[in-house]
Amino acid sequence: MLIVDSLSKSFDKGKSFALKEVSFKLAQGDVCAIVGESGSGKTTLVRLIAGLERPDGGSIILDGKEVSSIKKLVAPEKRNIGLVFQEYALFPHFDLLKNVMYGISKLKNKKARAKEMLELVGLSGMEHRYPHQLSGGQQQRVALARALAPNPSLLILDEPFSNLDAMLRMQLRSQVFEIIKKTGVTAIFVTHDTQDALSVADEILILQNGKIIQKDQPANLYIKPSSIYVASLFGNTIQLNKEMQTAFDCPLNPKCDHAIRNENLSINEECEYVTHARVLKKTFLGTGTQLLLKLDNGQKISVVTKEREVADRIKIGFNSTDLLEFTG
């Protein structure tokens, strides 16, 4: 239902690109996460889809209709896309009911619909409060209700949880996606937090420097990351360079890069490849302990273990099934 074709955008007349020839497709009812560090172009991408930015090249097709290209631009208000902003962007001078009714002013039963939406997000009874009287999480849900009220064909959430603290975030994340699943709307959400992405998305799209570097289902992405960069996005990863390979005595294909995830390293257990190391420093993390190790060949690495008590000298190793291999 959404086709993005070699979309490009530059903010400095081509000296550098915020987005360069990005292409992907999205099917009806899917929830897609766009993951990237800040500056990777993810916000630019959704703003282009929303029609708030104008592409320098490429096109966007929404529901079979071209909405953005270098010759044509459908105004954002005519795209039927709902957008939840990072800072919620509630209208401070309207109460909640008016905020939610804003996008459906042409509907006959707008009041009923707005109340229904507020109920959906669990805020019924607060219709006449003003945004500044709400907590961050409540504002987030109002923003969602407001975006969903006009029944958008596509819902975009831009960094929806980044302004919330960890506890609230987990709670709200499940609530929000429950609501999204309930309404069955096609959704794109932008995040720099891979946990958000892994837990709720049907599909994840990784952006780096304005380019898509991988697009896959969450499980595939985790198991078969296309680069060490992608791998490291989903958890602490240790690169296996030449020296490391010697340390563990595991000669690998020299044409490929290899890495091993931190959680696949075992301490003092039997594995295919092992080496010994001296613990230089232990940092207690609560859920585990961070260790700074000096391998026998002199390599220094940092790993996290669930163990609380760790001896000063340990055996460390991994199995070949856990190896990550990146071609080219």
């Binding site: 070699s6 490009s8 530059s10 007349k13 081509g14 690109f17 020839e21 929303a50 708030l52 104008r54 320098d56 090249g57 270098i70 010759k71 044509k72 631009l73 105004a75 954002p76 208000e77 005519k78 039927n80 896309i81 709902g82 957008l83 902003f85 990072q86 800072e87 962007a89 209208f91 401070p92 001078h93 804003y102 996008g103 923003a143 407001r146 975006a147 006009p150």
Partner: protein, 553 residues
């Protein structure tokens, strides 16, 4: 397409395609407004090509050095004095608690309500032979010591004392809203209050202060009445001399162009300043509380802050009231009341019209998707840099052409002989005011607009509202204070405006400023007091109101 890359995307054809795509009615309307505002300026600019008049050489030989020297002298000394008065008082009222602080906070803006040429007359009257000071000293049996105000030092003093509130307002806004954390952090590091102010606060406040200072300097360079009375030759008196005494508009235009170049240099300097500010700008942080010294020290601060208020407002006001009492019988009658009302409503209508133009310009430019158009839209505010008399002539050129065109059409097609339509009507006058004061309205609206997060209008558009409805329903309610401030500022400026009004005002219509000038130019300075007081009165009330807005904001 795949291997195309940047070269293809930025090929001429692609650029043209995008330009076509991005050209919307807002771009066109923005350019239309800029064109409308710039028309008089362009009309004058075109005349530059005709070359200067024959006295240009004479002027360069005999006077130009004097004009440049005096103008730079004024720029330099006024900057010093204005910074001294404006910044110190702004810091004291925003950082310390002292008796009558709240009252002084708005009293410090009031000097703006008195036109600077009136302040000049008042000071000349005070230090005159047989003037108020002499009378006062006589009461105490002290020998008269005379301070000669009527020279360039006196002029610098008078202009500074009547214009420093621009700097006061802009720097106070910074101190009140931005300086809190900074000072706290700095004092936590054990750096003293005094040192923190000079080493930390002042450099960060610089862009805000400079913004106010630029406005002051434009007014200083544009001053005619005060400089002329004090016998100081400046660019602006030179423009009048060349235009009228030497009968050479061409030469006057050359002088104007030189003046405008100086002003533009100042503006560019300020823009550059602001660019730096954006990097340094930070979240609002107010002082948690004002510092309270013991009573004697508090009174000391009170007296320090009272100095600029007294010199800028109370002393000239007292002199004007004294004159007003002497002349009340001659000046005050029913016609005068009528004239006051006329002034008032012209200023009000102009303020509203100008603010509408400024708002449209700002928002049309915002809605336009072409960056060049956005940059061009900024040209609309340059009218403020151009002397009122020059703007007036600039307005006459195109409006007369239009009038003559209409007259021609009326004659040819309808056989009616029509008179001048626009020229000599309120329309031309209001047009001229709008050209001159658009910048005054533009700044407060733009800056409150910047405080509204970009995502607010964006989310309105995502909810199906077009630009215009978004503005009416969401943005307008959120920038109301800026709009109101803009209306007040333009109102005050129009109430005070002189040379432009003199040239363009229609029959049957008069303003208080013109009335005051008529008296003064006929050597009836005393009689000018009552209209001046009316100007001050009608301007002071909105000023006080404005202060409330600024503080709330």
């Amino acid at each position: 397409m795949k291997q195309a890359g940047s070269s293809d995307i930025f090929s001429l054809k692609a650029r043209l395609n995008r330009l076509k795509r991005d050209t919307n009615r807002w771009s066109v309307l923005t350019l239309a407004i800029v064109g409308f505002i710039a028309l008089p300026i362009i009309s004058i600019g075109v005349k530059l090509f005709a070359g200067p008049g024959e006295t240009w050489g004479h002027l360069v030989d005999n006077l130009l050095v004097d004009y440049i020297g005096n103008s730079f002298f004024l720029v330099f000394f006024c900057s010093l004095l204005v910074l001294l008065f404006g910044v110190s008082s702004a810091w004291l009222v925003s950082r310390f608690e002292f008796p009558f602080r709240k009252q002084l906070e708005w009293l410090l803006i009031l000097p703006l309500a008195i036109p600077s040429y009136i302040v000049a007359y008042a000071y000349a009257g005070i230090f005159d032979y047989g003037g108020s000071l002499e009378l006062l000293l006589r009461v105490f049996d002290i020998d008269f010591f005379r301070i000669d105000m009527m020279n360039k030092f006196g002029l610098a003093f008078v202009l500074s004392i009547s214009l420093f509130p621009y700097v006061y307002v802009s720097s106070r806004a910074f101190f009140l809203n931005q300086a809190g954390n900074l000072l706290e952090a700095s004092t936590m590091l054990g750096i003293g209050e005094f040192k923190s102010f000079f080493k930390l606060i002042l450099p960060l406040a610089r862009p805000a202060i400079i913004a106010g200072l630029i406005l002051v300097l434009m007014e200083v360079l544009n001053d005619y009445g005060a400089a002329q009375y004090f016998g100081v030759n400046t660019f602006t008196t030179g423009i009048f001399r060349a235009w009228f005494a030497l009968e050479e508009p061409e030469t006057a235009i050359y002088l104007s162009a030189l003046l405008i170049a100086i002003v533009f240099a100042l503006i560019l300097f300020e823009k550059w300043q602001r660019k730096n500010q954006q990097v340094a700008s930070q979240k609002a942080s107010k002082f948690s509380h004002r510092k309270e010294f013991r009573k004697p020290a508090q009174w000391l601060i009170f007296f320090v802050v009272l100095i600029p208020v007294s010199f800028g407002f109370f002393i000239p006001l007292a002199q004007l009231i004294y004159w007003a009492v002497l002349t009340a019988g001659n000046v005050f009658d029913f016609d005068f009341l009528l004239l006051s009302l006329q002034s008032f409503w012209i200023a009000f209508v102009t303020a509203v019209v100008t603010v509408i133009f400024a708002t449209l310009l700002i928002y049309f430019a915002k809605w336009s998707s072409i960056n060049t158009v956005k940059s061009i839209s900024k040209l609309g505010i340059l009218g403020y840099a151009i002397p009122g008399a020059v703007v007036a002539i600039g307005i006459m050129i195109p409006t007369l052409a239009l009038d003559k065109w209409i007259i021609g059409i009326m004659n040819d097609y309808f056989g009616i002989s029509a008179g001048l339509l626009i020229n000599g009507s309120l329309v031309a006058l209001v047009y001229a005011y709008a050209v001159r004061f658009l910048a005054v309205a533009y700044n407060p609206i733009e800056s409150t607009g910047l405080k509204v997060s970009k995502s607010i209008p964006d989310s309105s558009r995502m909810l199906g509202m077009g630009n215009f409805r978004t503005f009416l329903r969401v943005e307008f309610p959120l920038i109301k204070t800026g709009i109101l401030s803009a209306i007040i500022l333009v109102f005050i400026d129009v109430m005070k405006e002189l040379p432009l009004t003199l040239i363009l005002k229609p029959f049957h219509i008069n303003t208080l400023a013109v009335k005051a000038f008529e008296y003064a130019s006929d050597e009836m300075v005393m009689e000018a007091a009552i209209p001046s007081l009316f100007i001050i009165f009608t301007a002071a009330i909105p000023v006080i109101f404005l202060n409330r807005l600024l503080i709330k904001d």
